[in-house]
Amino acid sequence: MGIQAQHIVKRFGDFVALDDVSIDVQSGRLTALLGPSGGGKSTLLRVIAGLDHADSGTVWIEDREATSLPPQARDVGFVFQHYAAFKHLSVYRNVAFGLEVRKRPKAEVRRRVTELLELVHLDQFADRLPAQLSGGQRQRMALARALAAEPKVLLLDEPFGALDAKVRKELRDWLRRLHDEVHVTTIFVTHDQEEALEVADELVVVNRGRVEQVGSPNDLYDRPANEFVMEFLGPVTRLGGQLVRPHDLDVFADARPGTVPARVERLQRVGFEVRADASAGAERFWLQLTPGQVEALELSPGSPVWVRPARGAATIASSASATPADRAPEGAFDRASAGSSS
């Protein structure tokens, strides 16, 4: 049951969007396809939906092979980044569309649409046109529309990408709660790792047409399989030839076994954290500390410190010469300008 995509290959001319990608999503779960723009996640989603055809590979939806079925026959609900609202139809008619196309009796349509509009809190707006709604409302309408015909599978393509930060957060929480109520197998695509970590039961990290790792948010965060996943999901810094999370570094005022001597270069208070830039010889890295730690160790620019990764911390041997030491993870704001296609 659930959704399986097996050995999907998809090329656009010379560009390989998906390179032998396989995923297996269990029925009823909320899975995120996470990755940078252009990495292939949207393409994979569209192949599952039938909106794009893979060059090779198979797609199974709820134990039926869907590979050669058109989107109409796959019984999927799809939500687009820019809402794809039917501009000339009211909110009610938008949501009713899928049911009307399936020629359901009017009474049933009315019942179901009303139910869904209440679910998404748009019952007041049933007669409005999409242009009269805010972005967040339009996306909720799009969700209701996709759910109306009770699809087996719900697919969302960067659903909150076009909304501003506050609305994004609200809808994110709301989506999670909706899923908890409705339990439809759901896959959503995002380039925002915070979003993926917060909302999904399971993450599939897709980069350059390949699956980097699959697992629960904690799995991926704590035990990343490779450099890319580690960098993508959270802050990293490089120390002694390893990538490690800056908040996973233990700091001491004197030498301890396994520590590396370093000097604090700069301290920057950011909210409830302190970012400490440091150097160990020629290597530069940074640490994430609490104000308490800074005070306890009496740190200031120039202070000598001894640093080692905490016990059980995720580390990955890093061969890259271009050090990511100074880079905070690219968050949604940085991604926003990188375009929406993937």
Partner: protein, 294 residues
């Protein structure tokens, strides 16, 4: 008059197309057989309706050989017709351009009572038969027309002479420049001019240094459209010029005359010149098109 969304007359409007590449689904237009059928139908329709007749005509034009063609096109009456057509067209285009710029600016930059009416009236000439246009002008400016007597005392002859042809040509091509400028002026908005005003530029300076340069491609577009129309006008000129050989015969009139005189190849010859000009206009417009939107 109902306000119509007026299509950009010549050439496809310069809208930015949707980007292709990953994400563009192949099921976009139509799938498989439907797409081929539509494509076939559209292409065959246009081919048979437009291309075929053109090809046959061009073939006919040179049936009697290149020499005959050249002779036909360089005969005194042909030269006179071409010259007259160009003179008339240039005058009409100049008048229409000045008018077009003025009206476009008035409509987009000002608010006054009757603005909407003016806007609707601009489109009027396009909906009117050219023969009616000619008739209308005769009724006012002909010898027995409303102003006919007054004009005669002034020694000015409008109908059956060149000024009448210019008037008729202005009539039929009136909206062309305006309609190209208005959308572009609306789109670029008022900010530039506001900034100019704040910097101390007077209206004339703003016009020359700010407004006109920013619409120059749309303006060129409109001018070329106007020119094509002006050169090709037949019905209105036929009424107003009276078809007298030599002095008031434009290219279209000459073509009609030759055909009536059973000089078919002569008619085709001069038509070929007009076709060449028309295609040149289309190509110029096609080249101007991408620059239309910044």
């Amino acid at each position: 008059m109902a306000e119509l969304t007026r299509p950009t007359a010549l050439g496809a409007p310069p809208a930015a197309g949707q980007p292709q590449g990953p994400g563009a689904s192949p099921g976009r237009g139509a799938s498989g057989p439907t797409r081929w059928v539509l494509r076939l139908v559209a292409v065959v329709y246009v081919l048979v309706l437009v291309v075929l007749p053109l090809v046959v005509m061009v073939g006919r034009t040179f049936e009697d050989g290149l020499a005959a063609f050249v002779e036909s096109v360089t005969s005194p009456e042909a030269v006179a017709a071409v010259t007259l057509s160009l003179q008339v067209a240039v005058q009409a285009v100049v008048v229409n351009t000045v008018f077009g710029v003025a009206v476009a600016l008035l409509i987009t930059r000002y608010r006054f009572r009757g603005r909407g009416v003016l806007n609707a009236l601009i489109d009027l000439p396009v909906s009117v038969s050219p023969v009616i246009a000619g008739l209308a002008l005769i009724l006012v400016y002909g010898r027995n027309g409303w102003f006919g007597g007054a004009l005669e005392t002034l020694g000015v002859q409008v109908i059956y002479s060149v000024p009448g042809i210019v008037l008729a040509t202005c009539f039929v091509s009136l909206p062309l420049v305006v309609r190209e400028l208005v959308p572009v002026l609306d789109e670029i908005g008022l900010e530039q001019e506001q900034a100019g005003r704040a910097l101390g530029a007077n209206a004339w300076q703003r016009l020359w240094r700010l407004t006109l340069p920013s619409v120059r491609w749309a303006l060129a577009y409109g001018v070329v459209l106007s020119l094509a129309r002006a050169l090709g006008e037949f019905g209105a000129v036929r009424v107003v010029a009276g078809n007298v050989l030599g002095s008031t015969q434009t290219m279209p009139l000459l073509a009609a005359q030759r055909y009536a005189d059973l000089d078919e190849s002569g008619a085709y010859a001069i038509s070929f010149v007009m076709v060449a000009i028309a295609i040149l206009c289309i190509l110029v417009v096609a080249l101007l098109r991408p620059r239309d939107h910044r």
